[in-house]
Amino acid sequence: MIYLDNAATTFPKPAETLRAALETYIRMGVSPGRGSYDLATEAEDLVTTTRKRLADFFDAPDPERVIFTGNATDALNIALQGMLTFGDHVVSSRLEHNSVLRPLYHMRQKGVIDYDLVSFDDNGFVRPEEIAAVIKPNTALVILTHASNVLGTVQPIEEVGLVCKERGIPLVVDAAQTAGTIPIDMKSWHVAALAFTGHKSMLAPTGIGGLVLDRDARIELTRFGGTGVDSRSLLHTETYPHRLECGTLNLLGIIGLLESLTFIQKERVESIHLREMALLTRLRDGLLGIKGVELYCADDLTCHVALLCANIRGLNPEDAGDILDGDYGIAVRTGLHCAPLVHESLGTSPHGSIRFSLGPFTTEEHVDRAVAAMSEIARRSC
């Protein structure tokens, strides 16, 4: 199978990282930081090491404010529900995934907040000045995706960070599509909170992600429970990281993340990205020449992650996905990609598009076979 659904979940993962994680877990798969035995302390050391490594990786100021979550959606929910209160206004964009759109909509329906969504230009970029233009006196948060999971465009977070800093508004960034493939610098970009997931470009297993906070980020508790700390008190632990973590952590996921982080840093994020983008350019150029294929990506792939969407005229994208899989052994993602407003703006709603997303193990042959398959399907499309 040719796997081109890496924007959903990277596959395959580096086998050596999974084996190493499993071996460690077999040796010390206990509750980290709970109990008075050495193994629990050693497991906690691994968790602490992972927090430190992630803080370095994202240039975040405080490892204790690296909060482990199930994935980016989980992290975004913790951030939005913890950082917003009654009467707040939020600025976001039409590029967002439902991981942002649905929590915002839910909070608006409950009468907690209101929000404005700025649009994107013809090349798929949100303009910082448009964000500045809709900020109100009660704007309490700006939340923006780092890269669109439909268009692949990398947003000008640094410039948006400046807009936010000048106005004293925290910026939350959804780095689901960029963590592990685009270098992130929370401090110099003035990012208050960064949500990431392990299972995409971080090359970790599913079920692990995180919320990384700046020291100034104010976030209320929305979940409560056991932390292994201050157990006599009925009040949930106030100090980080326990403040935002409840129950036993996903230790296997955390170890997997630590191992995959080591892999990524050895391979170098920049090198992985350059290689993937060379393949994306090859894919884009190949698809461009096919009659009947419509492409939805920026003209210039400079600020881009390695994904692009396309359609074959007259063919439902879901059926195209079935054909690519059944007849050519090519796995792609079809539909709205959980980002309905992007497709509304593109005019591809309600059926969406075919998304090709490349990963560290994609090859030129994979790309060429995808182009050939699209060409044949477009030619034979009834």
């Binding site: 063919l315 439902n316 994208p317 879901e318 059926d319 079935d322 054909i323 899989d325 059944g326 007849d327 993602r333 079809t334 539909g335 709205l336 990609h337 959980c338 309905p340 709603s349 309600p350 059926h351 969406g352 399907i377 034979r380 499309s381 009834c382």
Partner: protein
């Protein structure tokens, strides 16, 4: 493989689960001389409501005047598989069972694979990432 829909080992009440799913976009339509509950895209809510007359009616709406042998073969396979396994077949299952490519299947029904073949066969609307 021939499985009576009512006796299928995996047919353990999929319809009630669908009806409990919170989707209220249902309507009653008369298809093939029978009132049936369909969703917003005209997929049957209750796959067991399907009859051959109903398939012919849905096919006509898709632009097929008369279902040919191959189309019936596809429809019967989809239904048998669904009632045995409790879900629609994998792409490779269809290909192996019917002996045609997915591209050929796409062209066999004007609505395509999911909104043509699957709809006429009376399978539930596939819950996917599209609207």
């Amino acid at each position: 493989m021939v499985v009576d829909e009512k006796d299928s080992p995996r047919w353990d009440g999929i319809t009630p689960r669908l009806l409990d799913a919170g989707d209220v976009q249902q309507k009653v339509r008369c298809l093939g001389g029978k009132d049936v509950l369909v969703d917003k895209d005209d997929f049957l809510w209750r796959p067991e409501d399907w009859t051959e007359d109903l398939a012919r009616a849905l096919a006509r709406e898709c632009g097929i005047d008369t279902l040919n042998d191959l189309q019936w073969q596809v429809i019967r396979f989809l239904r048998e598989y669904f009632f045995y396994h409790g879900r629609a077949p994998l792409n490779r299952d269809i290909k192996a069972a019917v002996g045609i490519s997915l591209m050929e299947l796409e062209c066999l029904f004007p609505g395509g694979i999911r909104r043509g073949a699957r709809l006429v066969a009376g399978l539930p609307n596939p819950r996917t990432c599209s609207g």
